[in-house]
Assembly symmetry: C2
Homo-oligomer: 205 residues x 2
Amino acid sequence: MKRPLSLQKLIDALRKLPGVGPRSARRMAEAVLAMDYEEAREIGRAIVRAKKAIRPCSVCGINTEQDPCEICSDETRDRSFVCVVESAEDVIAFESSGSHEGVYHVLGGTINYTRGSGPEKLNLASLFSRAGAGGIKEVLIATNPTLEGESTAAYIVKRLKNAGIKLTRPARGLPRGADIDFLDSETISIAHKERQEAFFLNDEQ
Amino acid sequence: MKRPLSLQKLIDALRKLPGVGPRSARRMAEAVLAMDYEEAREIGRAIVRAKKAIRPCSVCGINTEQDPCEICSDETRDRSFVCVVESAEDVIAFESSGSHEGVYHVLGGTINYTRGSGPEKLNLASLFSRAGAGGIKEVLIATNPTLEGESTAAYIVKRLKNAGIKLTRPARGLPRGADIDFLDSETISIAHKERQEAFFLNDEQ
């Protein structure tokens, strides 16, 4: 006996999601069958609705239901300061931190030649044309501190270094709550090399 | 800035699937947005279609698009021999092994009082009424060899022991390909106690 066709199709469909292997797809499919019809339909609908409603912002590439996005159309944001990130979720993280008052540019990934993801696959042409259009003073290249993120940052630096724009990278060091003996030695080295004058609140009194 | 509403709803919907935490839901949602519209719609549809098409078999509880299911309505299967399993996926596993020529009964879980899953939550009443209806010679109680599986099996044995039916459990021992030094001591003990006369193909020549 095989699985009913519609169940097999559901398992195959779920496997297209990232991180879902054969076992988890089967567990998810079983969970769907155990749900109320309304609840299962809500998941199915959420997929189709999000896919229908959301487009990348034509300026910065953020996931948005309006174009240009909320941030690009906000007059109070500093449009001369662009934070370049790999993914739209990185924007959510920066926004939650409240640290960036400028605008964003979402690359949609990193350069990775071995996976066939060259610069032309990323949202880079529009970054360079934004930079070329003038009005940008600083580009903070906030790709992840990984091999791919670094080489993508290096590529952007190479392309923009003569554009008369200040190019920056986020500070590196120990993340809050880190256990130093579990951190990689590159981070420890950077944290050591870039060490800061120690001061605590009571030093300032 | 928050996520667009339809994206947040998609993330919330995906989190209802088992094993999907906040991070993986976000990754999945990003993957959905990166898909072609057709591909995303296919996933949404597969969920709704499977949920619509599949019902538990009214006899054995298997996931099925026809009722009674393929196995229960197959005249060549031995209806006097019922294999009781926890989930419909266990049936697929038994069927792939080709070992069972009888029929099945899917419990839909195990007894777990601490999780509020008493016998009444399982597909047990219909098992006992099948057993009471006569015609069944053997019930192989193939719940998983876990604490919950064992106690569920014990409950079934207690309820059926006076029904004049042979009650069996699958053999326990070393699984194929096992590394003995990674196996739990219970399995090793059972494999030792239930050891079999050694024979190899050349012994039979």
